[in-house]
């Protein structure tokens, strides 16, 4: 009897331990699940944005995630890619910049915050080592003028590098995260910041006057006009900032203005997050057409090429307008068109975000010439 009872107690203890272990496993699993969920939330946030794009007459340069691709604009085939293997240390989504001395400049948002120079022909690194002196990441493209690279960083500083990637002056603190390339009127640099201000800097790196209040964050580059620049902001307005620091609002939009405006003669084209497209005569301040809202929200800057103006919408539609605001054609590209279309020869290049392909070429009639799909690693 005692034996049986003893067995019963042992059995009970075993059951109890089993229950306990199950509960422990449950707790561990639950916590692991939360950890995994949070990990999934964080992912790689810095890679998660739309690509950068630039082009010359022969190649398109696409910066997307871990790689920069050079793509032949006549065939749509990959010429080279950089780096050879994907990694978190180098991640790209700024627009690469081609320089007159034959460099392709781009900063990374990867862990090393590297700013690099590549040979556009081969994709090989030009500098002995990248510039890695910035605290923040490189969302903005640089401006190259008179042998100096002016590189705005998300740490709020403007960096001054020579054409070999060496710092030539102490970085200049402007404030706020700098997401867009400086614009220039040939003399001064105009740098829009997320701190709601437009900063004016001379080529020697001195701040000129007080920062101009734009009323909201400005994530895109201003566009140079005569003795000043045009800049839009989240304040849903676009205005002209002159070199002496005066600012005058010239047009109001129905929603936040994200992309840079484009100036073509006396006409300024821009769009807003409502999807409205505007054409303003900057000499009179008058709108050239009534409300035009062909498709979804517009983030990307437009492209003026030939007689047409091209807008890409968030809904993945490429729209070609004539100068009177008449829609010439619309093509569904797919994904989201957040990147400004780029002209290479006669090809209109578009880099959709989250589409079946990374890059596509269209002619002026809207016929697709090719698409480029990177080989998956």
């Amino acid at each position: 009897m005692q034996n049986i009872s003893g067995k019963g107690i042992r059995l009970s203890v075993v059951r109890s331990k089993t229950n306990l272990n199950r509960k422990k496993i449950f707790v561990i699993l639950l916590l692991t699940l939360v950890a995994l969920t949070l990990s999934a939330c964080s992912g790689q946030p810095l890679t998660n944005t739309w690509p950068g794009l630039s082009a010359d007459a022969e190649r398109a340069y696409l910066a997307t995630g871990s790689f920069i691709y050079a793509v032949d604009v006549t065939t749509g085939r990959e010429v080279w890619k950089y780096p050879a293997e994907a990694g978190n240390s180098l991640l790209f989504y700024a627009n690469p910049v081609l320089t007159e001395d034959g460099q392709l400049l781009i900063g990374s948002v990867g862990t090393t915050h590297a700013f690099i120079s590549l040979d556009p022909a081969t994709g090989k690194e030009n500098w002995a080592e990248p510039f890695a002196g910035a605290k923040g990441t490189w969302v903005a493209s640089p401006l190259v003028m008179n042998g100096i690279i002016y590189a705005p960083n998300t740490d709020g500083f403007l960096y001054f590098l020579d054409m070999n990637g060496k710092q030539v002056a102490d970085p200049l603190e402007l404030g706020g995260a700098l997401w867009s390339a400086p614009a220039t009127d040939g003399e001064l640099l105009y740098i829009a910041s997320l701190d709601h201000h437009l900063h004016i800097v001379d080529q020697a790196g001195s701040i000129i006057g007080e920062p101009i209040d734009l009323g909201g964050a400005s994530p895109a580059s201003p566009v140079a006009g005569e003795d000043g620049v045009y800049a839009g902001s989240f304040d849903s307005t676009i205005g002209f900032a002159s070199s002496n620091g005066d600012f005058q609002t010239i047009a109001e939009a129905s929603n936040w203005i994200w992309g840079s405006p484009v100036l073509d003669g006396n006409t300024l084209y821009f769009a807003d997050l409502n999807g409205s497209i505007y054409s303003v005569d900057v000499s009179t301040g008058s709108q050239n057409w009534d409300e035009l809202k062909p498709d979804g929200p517009i983030v990307a800057s437009p492209l003026v090429a030939g007689d047409q103006i091209y807008f890409g919408s968030e809904d993945g539609v490429l729209i070609a307008l004539d100068r009177d605001g008449k829609i010439v054609w619309e093509k569904t590209v797919g994904g989201n068109l957040y990147t400004q279309p780029v002209l290479s020869g006669v090809a209109i290049l578009v880099a959709p975000y989250q589409a079946e392909f990374a890059l596509a070429a269209y002619d002026a009639s809207g016929k697709q010439a090719w698409t480029f799909i990177p080989v998956k690693e």
């Binding site: 939360v34 949070l38 939330c41 995260a177």
Partner: protein, 272 residues
């Protein structure tokens, strides 16, 4: 669903508090603290039921009738369970009440983490997504982007105090906040830990105590790891939430301060 009912309200509440505070430097950190207090107030009844449930369970361990049925039905698990349920019903104790608030914390933690990352908008796409999250009646163009600086931290990034030398496993520096998160979590868990009567035959009580003991190790380690790895804004939430939890429990006068000491659980039980 998740976006509409969790992320959007949380982001808008955070932005609204931040706006009210004047959206200056350090104010997003203060907004997270106030947000945590609001969440704590909303979940106050649940936390109160957790405290009540934990107290009730603790009192049961010293209850004569409870101890009697443990002995009486030690070999008949089914009957023991029935009797336990009867006592739970009679005393108005919900044995699961202490688990519910912990479970509710998880979606809040995940939601808050996503909301902080969304509100910080470190990339252009994040910023674009943020614009889609904001309720139409909120005028936020004046406050975006948020100032992510709070004390010495960037709330959108893992915290760490720079060290004069490099430590490979501490890429962000000395993880002060992660340590404080782990410590406050440990204190909170220990304070609410039920005592185990000495030489108790009550297996349920032993299981509960063992579970709590496991939790007091796993939870601080896990939350400490979260603090080490993820945006420091979430650490501010953890610390505020833990401190409020400690205050709330201490206010009931039932906090087992002895539990904080090694072997304190047993000493505490022996006193009873």
């Amino acid at each position: 669903m998740w976006q509409t009912f969790i992320i959007q309200p949380m982001v808008n509440l955070l932005l609204w508090i931040y706006d009210i505070l004047g959206h200056g430097p350090h104010m997003f950190g203060v907004a997270i603290i106030l947000f945590t207090i609001v969440i704590r107030l909303i979940t106050w009844p649940l936390n109160a039921s957790q405290v009540k449930g934990a107290q009730g369970m603790q009192e049961l361990q010293n209850d004569k009738e409870w101890q009697d049925i443990q002995k009486k039905y030690a070999k008949d698990k089914e009957k023991l369970a029935q009797e336990q349920m009867r006592i739970y019903k009679e005393r108005g104790i919900n044995p699961f009440a202490s688990c519910l608030p912990t479970l509710i914390q998880f979606p809040i933690i995940i939601g808050l983490y996503q909301s902080i990352i969304r509100a910080m908008a470190a990339t252009p796409l994040d910023m674009l997504n943020l614009t889609r999250t904001i309720y139409p009646f909120q005028n936020v163009e004046n406050i975006i982007p948020l100032n992510s600086v709070f004390l010495w931290m960037n709330l959108g990034r893992p915290e760490g105090i720079p060290l004069p030398f490099e430590v490979s496993f501490l890429p962000n520096g000395f993880p002060l906040l992660a340590i404080v998160v782990a410590l406050t979590t440990y204190i909170q868990t220990k304070l609410t830990m039920p005592t185990t009567p000495p030489n108790s035959n009550d297996q349920a009580a032993a299981q509960t105590a063992a579970m709590s003991s496991s939790m007091s190790i796993y939870m601080p380690l896990m939350l400490g790891w979260f603090a080490l790895t993820f945006a420091s804004g979430i650490s501010v939430y953890f610390i505020t939430s833990n401190l409020l939890g400690i205050v709330q429990y201490a206010a009931t006068g039932r906090a087992n301060w002895n539990n904080l000491l090694p072997g304190g659980n047993k000493k505490n039980a022996a006193k009873k």
